[in-house]
Symmetry: D4
Subunit: 249 residues, 8 copies
């Protein structure tokens, strides 16, 4: 309808019934409802080769399937996060190209190759074995967006030598994702070793006064090492996405 109104005005201009000044004035005063002509470039992600992402938690297998089918019909790659094995199985009955990874709990469909677009390396560290699912979610996400990813797991601060052994690899990264639960000390230690952007991910691993990841979150926000920023508890996807943005910036 707004389009109709605009066409009417422009036609009047073409017909010599109004002038440029009047139309400019008119457009200037349009309130928000006319913003139909100023749309956000929502195809941007697709053109850059980014996958479409579905947050699977709280959605049924049926809902996920339908959203995926709609996306797949656009030719895009698809990443579904936070899917449990049972749901994944149900989805795969309909969409047999869907690949499920039971560690990261992600489901992916690759309709076209993901080309590496990053400047360097996204290095993903996990403090303990229980932090690996979150770390893998970050890894899968960054890979789907087109970054080269390496993993460095079980390098918690209580066994410092394991971390020190990989100093070289850490220096090679363009950005590090550091995943840790419990006391969340790993990003501080890593931040003291390399001068790279660090995306810290607190996990809900822990018990008692960990308060489901709050202890790790607070520790990471208070890190004495600069160059660190933090995402939500267990937000592997967010960390992987941001790391890929940094790597491809």
């Amino acid at each position: 309808m707004n389009e109709d109104k605009l066409r009417e005005m422009l036609q009047a201009l073409q017909d010599g019934k109004t002038d440029v000044d009047a139309i400019v004035e008119n457009l200037r005063s349009w309130p928000y409802e006319d913003l139909g002509f100023a749309r956000v470039d929502h195809h941007r992600a697709l053109r850059r080769g980014f996958p479409e992402v579905i947050f699977g938690e709280g959605k049924s297998a049926d809902q996920i399937t339908k959203i995926m089918e709609a996306m797949l019909s656009q030719g895009t790659n698809v990443l579904v996060t936070r899917v449990d094995a049972a749901k994944a199985k149900d989805v795969q009955k309909k969409i047999n190209t869907a690949v499920y990874d039971d560690i990261s709990r992600t489901m992916t469909v690759r309709q076209h190759e993901v080309s590496e677009k990053g400047r360097g390396l996204v290095l993903i560290l996990a403090a303990g074995t229980s932090d690996i699912p979150v770390a893998e979610e970050a890894a899968v996400t960054a890979e789907m967006i087109g970054s080269r990813v390496e993993r460095l797991f079980d390098v918690g601060v209580a066994g410092l030598h394991r971390l020190l052994d990989h100093f070289h690899q850490m220096r090679e990264a363009s950005v590090l994702v550091v995943v840790a639960g419990m006391e969340g000390a790993l990003p501080s230690v890593v931040g003291g070793m390399v001068e790279k952007p660090i995306v810290a991910v607190p996990t809900s691993v822990g018990y008692g006064a960990s308060f489901k990841g709050l202890a790790a979150l607070m520790a990471m926000l208070n890190s004495c090492a600069p160059g660190i920023a933090v995402v939500n508890i267990d937000n592997g996807f967010g960390a992987g996405y941001l790391a890929a943005l940094i790597d491809q910036g």
Copy 2:
């Protein structure tokens, strides 16, 4: 510059060098940067006779004075909240039409009469005498916007009869602002008595486990009486503003 570009296009249309379809297509694809033509109607408030509002806390007398002068030059009324007496005195040296109210800690300049625009009555209740400053901030705000305001103070739940005595007045209001600190029970009791929209304002009045108004805030959010919504702790301005909007809706 965007205007220039638009004029260019429209001139081309007028000159017969392009057609309506092309221009519509062009406008449709404009990204956000062209939103210069889709401005929010920021003169709306002024035309409706609303005052300009300045949040005085953290601003110096000098800063407040300068902002007020700019606003006053537009012919609008002005309301400044959270001003202490010393600052007010300094401002008044420059702007001698400014009226300071040391209870609500507001400063107002009325360049034109505020006409009553509401459908009914904004009734403002305060549980204790210590809650009055916040209640007065709400009252002054609603009055400046053009609502009729009545005050009903010191009607806390521990002296229920004082509240019951004013049942008639409460039923006459179009909206009630209920201000209370400590256990914040007053909105629940009022909400059980009248079926009117209630804007509840927790105050930081209290000590110990009141945690600077948190107890009252939580109580109000959990009210067993329907028809109640809550604003931030000590936010008399917000409550008065919303109440006026409801009254004038």
Copy 3:
């Protein structure tokens, strides 16, 4: 018994054994226990056509059925909130006029038509698809009370253009209910666009540092846009009820 006592006194007056002054004095000093004569007008809601409301959570199908039957015998409409599908089914076996809506998780019985009594439009916005159940609870509630309701879902701040596209509709509303989880930013953005009363509803949608809706709740309470008040987390009913009160004020 109080009635007996009152009758005795009045009889004495009629019999000329006492005078008006004595009785007035006597009544004046009656303590609370005589309040039997000053009952709240609890039929008010019914006469205005409001439905009776049952909070279904924690009640068995059997309990809900019995309360509903008692209410229905009064001829009133009935709204039950927070009922799961299984319970609803059990209730429907006994009360076959009960209609269950599995999105809002409400059950309604309409014994008489609900006439529109509002001045305008209650517009209900939901930020994400996961917020829809809460938004629908608000919508069903406002409709049952007699307000005209429109829905505007999936207009979260991360896709601002969808929100901007509906600016016109937002300006038409007499009151807006804005439902959002996660960071709870939507009410602030909406409050910056329209000068209408806004009832903000934080939802428990989110994870990690969302702390079951606390993050959204706190964000909404701290909104930089005036004209916003907040109800409890996931309290769609409360928001719809208040919105209808405002719309019908």
Copy 4:
């Protein structure tokens, strides 16, 4: 052993081998380990006719049965709190005198009559129907200890008239137990009506920002009415016990 040592000393005194001063000096310097002679009077409760109490939560039917049997063999009455129906059934197979109450979730065995020992009346108020289980736990506890108990349920502040109707009964009580969830306002209102000791019990009834009873707890602690003290969330037993102590003081 300590006894042996003491006897040895005393024998020496009797035999004239030591004197009074030496023994007094010796006893004076005894550290704590000799406190075997200064035992707490742990039969006190039993003699006063108090029941033995078992906190049933987290204990198996088998564990509860064994503890009960041991207690019953002493001739005492027994009160078990926080027992679910299934566990109760299992216990009753072994102890067929056990009476289970599925509202208060208590199990009682009365081997002897409980005589009324209080000075007056323990009045137990509950704000909503969902608060009744906690209120009943308080009631059963106070009754088992020997107080006269009356119940006044569904008298929440949102329907003030129901509360006002029972003003007389409230004035008769020697102590009131006031049970409420959600915003926890009832004790404040009651405390403003009667000048009696009030034991306030917050319940976990509520949702969202009730935080499992925290809102009610904080409201009660901040009550503007004096004469109120608070027990733990859902602690009906503690409230009933304290009320009985006050009533029987």
Copy 5:
């Protein structure tokens, strides 16, 4: 006006223009606004000899003086809590019968003797020397209301023998007020020693993870000993008041 209306009706009855039934019916349907005839018995406290109480915090010396003068003119005793020395001095210039106690920070005026009305003894324990101001506020309050008070200070759980030394005194009390900061363990220990009503008062004494009394408050609410209820942090007045109510019940 309500009175006018009532008189009119009664006159009609006296004049034989209406009958008893009609008036009863009429009164029965009066809504709240007619509650003027059902006033709370607000002289109750005065007749019982209770003092009037003023919460001095946040009030100026001038405000306190005026309220006191109004009260004193009624012949009542007066208790002012939370007054600092400077304010007290200013008040005393006007009211030279006012007695200031710089430990409890209370000011009292005794226009008539306070007669002992309790059944027994209010025993007030304080864990540490820093808790004494709060304990003294409780003591002064209970004394002003007419209870016999004894003090037992510096009996914290880290020096158990001091507490044990006073076991006899504790058993004589009709009610105990137990004041403690830091870990707030004292009420639990006392509750395990005597079977008396205990009013626990957490204080803000402590640092770090005491969070201004929150640690003590939470400990007291979770006491494993029954017979304990808790008032707000530092609320000596509330504890003394409740203790006196219990003692005089």
Copy 6:
């Protein structure tokens, strides 16, 4: 590779192609990546006879079995914490030397005798019977590391005499582990009785305002008795481990 580089250098030295100074200088400037030569002495624990420890929570029976088998092949003793009975059974099918203790929920394999290495006695106190599982986890841990352990359970502060009866035993210990839930007062009382290092363990035993052990944790951190430090909620393993370190220091 670093090794290769080092060998090259050393070979050059041996061949007379470089000198000692040059190599020292070279090694001095090696960054972290060369730390392969500066490994932590990770066999330390084994040589001291410490068991390997597996945190069983969140691991499957299969995962636990595999880790245990790897450890057992090194000849070490193994301790698995937080294993439920079902998982333990599954593990025992493969590793029939594994002993499961269903109170502490630990599984142990002793391939060699644990010799007592401590200087004294690790005394483990538990306040209530519900705290015993955590206390037993501490006890089993300290025993596996080689300390002599005694248990003193059900000595909560509400029954002080039971604690006092064991004063002698408490004085004999070289370190005490004090386990308590609810109000967490036991460590303060114990700390006031003996001048020994105390490891306090809050447990999640409690309800309502216990907030899953937070109340006990905060109480212990604020203890007025010196000589106390605190581990995480329910962390029996950590307490037992630290106590053994202290005992064997």
Copy 7:
């Protein structure tokens, strides 16, 4: 001493008294104490031209001066954060090349030119005028490290058009620092508009339920827009540092 030991070994090799294998084996087993040879490359920052940074809060003017002098003697640039005007003045008496900026509260000394080393633009947004000091701290930090910085202030979500007007500028940035207090919604809105790495900085601007920035912090952590990570409340320095790292990566 370790060096002595190493020299001894190497001398033995040179003398033919040992062989390469033996030395490699020896070095391999060196524990941490020999890490003197594996120092962190702490001159890294200096060589890259990074300034030395001093956190000024809690340090005296004298302490700051001494640390600055030591740093300046190394020829490096120096940045001091969180310095108030008075302290700055004192420092400038000794170090007259120090430049103080009273908005960002930073003090800088530039001994050599800062060359631009970034790939693009660090764009710094501030929601309100009160957020500008934190935003300026970020800006000054990024500039000192060598990034090109642009500022975009007063673009809060309550006046969306101001933000929309600068869409183009936002798309040009290589990384955005988004500073906001109160409800902290700005990063979500920005994150929905551009696909760039966003460093979100919550500020302590606000009152009541803002809890000194906690509301904004939680909102930012829960952002529904991907590509956002968060630093500590008011941590402008940390955000500027990280942004520069990303820009120069």
Copy 8:
């Protein structure tokens, strides 16, 4: 009086008027009030050479002076914690042997030499320079009790090499006190390097989401390294005291 009663009984025994059995029986039944004979050994600390300790915070110079004088008259050493410089000066006017240390804010009087009684070394680490006052309080405390103390300051995890450089010294300690604010990661890293008892002290150093030391406290409680226990925020005294107990155990 109890003594009188005891003497009477014993005299009767000596006089042959009663027998041993009767007296034993009599003593056995004594309730707590007779505990005068079972006093805690409160001279224990003095005999072991421990200093008397005064918590100076909240006490006036005059109060501190009087307590010190009383203690000094017993010949004991005295340690006063949390004294500011002004107060210290005032005390020193009266007690000129008092030595004030303005870093640890302690005041000490040594009337007799403190002999070293520990088995080894108390090593005190501080992460940052701002943590030194707390660390020094721990150091002074442990030294006053008679332990050998070494300090290792400014060894935070962001500069790991400084920590690694002192590995040898850390292995020599019998117990480590690890002091850190902000993210509190240092104890975890130290705990992963040495197998010694670690007393972790969170400090209130930090800002924003540090919440005055809460972040560090929670991190330390959740440490992934075993052998760590935690004291209250800023509780240097408690840590030093416990460390000395462990060292001298």
